[in-house]
Symmetry: C2
Subunit: 217 residues, 2 copies
């Protein structure tokens, strides 16, 4: 293990990068996202990664010493982006509007970055071996924080009371569904995704917002 430290240091995060190195790494990661999100970590080969990035296999391994390093780099990047919509919920906003915005941002993320969503989903489904620390750390803390905010709204009677954490789960599940199960959605709706996301947004707004709106009757 110690014998490969020099090589690993060159090809991973510990070293300062030149501009061209960063460009190549970005190129590789974007190509790898295609491959990994479609086939999972084990289903992808370094040959395929290299072909997708338009370079030879040893060349790719010059930038990322191990297939695993490419995959981990993608996952790390994803965790941050993925939690942004939730971070943006503001305690001092109007509750239903804050939730509407959250649903919209999360659905937009599914629309614009389905590959990232699928990559993340597969990792979680397989037990999240590489995300355990993020789950127990930043993701746990963020959800706890925002759950408390939503619970505050409920406790002051501004929206209906449900378990706030499970409400977040429901928003995650429904919005990510359109990225993760895109093949199934397409097979069933027939349409291409043009109108799908518009219909999805309207449906989710009715379910979540009308479900949580305080009733007159």
């Amino acid at each position: 293990m110690a014998t490969s430290d020099n090589k690993d240091a060159r090809a991973t995060k510990t070293r300062r990068r030149t501009r061209i190195q960063r460009e190549k790494e970005t190129l590789i990661l974007d190509a790898a996202l295609d491959v990994f999100s479609a086939q999972g970590f084990a289903g992808a080969t370094v040959d395929e990664l290299a072909a997708a990035a338009g370079m030879s296999k040893p060349n790719l391994l010059y930038y990322f010493a191990h297939k695993e390093d490419v995959y981990s780099a993608l996952l790390d990047r994803q965790v941050d982006d993925w939690t942004v919509p939730l971070q943006e919920i503001r305690e001092d906003g109007e509750p239903l509007e804050e939730l509407r915005g959250y649903i919209r941002r999360k659905l937009e993320l599914s629309r614009m970055r389905p590959r990232e969503s699928r990559l993340y989903a597969m990792e979680i489904i397989q037990g999240a071996p590489r995300l355990k620390s993020a789950l127990d750390g930043q993701i746990y803390a963020l959800v706890r924080e925002k759950s408390a905010v939503i619970k505050g709204w409920m406790d002051s009677g501004r929206i209906a009371s449900v378990d706030a954490t499970h409400l977040i789960f429901a928003i995650w599940a429904t919005t990510q569904h359109y990225a993760d199960f895109a093949v199934q959605v397409r097979a069933i709706t027939g349409t291409d995704t043009e109108s799908t996301f518009a219909t999805a947004l309207k449906t989710l707004e009715v379910l979540f917002l009308d479900g949580l709106r305080i009733r007159d009757g």
Copy 2:
């Protein structure tokens, strides 16, 4: 390809089975469900399948000539079970009660058979290469049929109007989430799954049923 037909015929569905054959096959499939649902098709090895089933590799391959055959057998079995809760929706029932029952059955399936759910989810995420025909066939037809039933309820003013197909997607997504993302749910809620499903059911009932209930005010 033609040269392996005799072998394949013995080890796959085309042949009538003895009792002991069926028992061994069931044993293998149950063990394989553990392995495939945790690692995906590509991530699992025949060695691991055999070890999980408590037999040698050649012995497993005596019953299923190819790794792929084990996997396909699992998937086939899953599609049927998985669509049962939706099939049981009855047009002549009370709409909100029918939907409540559907949510409950689907959530119960996530609770009792999380491995099957994860196996199916990974297959869909990866583009459903082996489920394309089921998606375009029986699943498509069933969802269309039940969407029409739900739309009928909406058109006659018995529940609020949303896109019925996307309502089904939302129920799928939220209920399966507890099986597919179990690791994440556990990391965030802290609790073990005892109370999780009870809280989930209450939350989903509020969201879906209150969201769809026709309002007095």
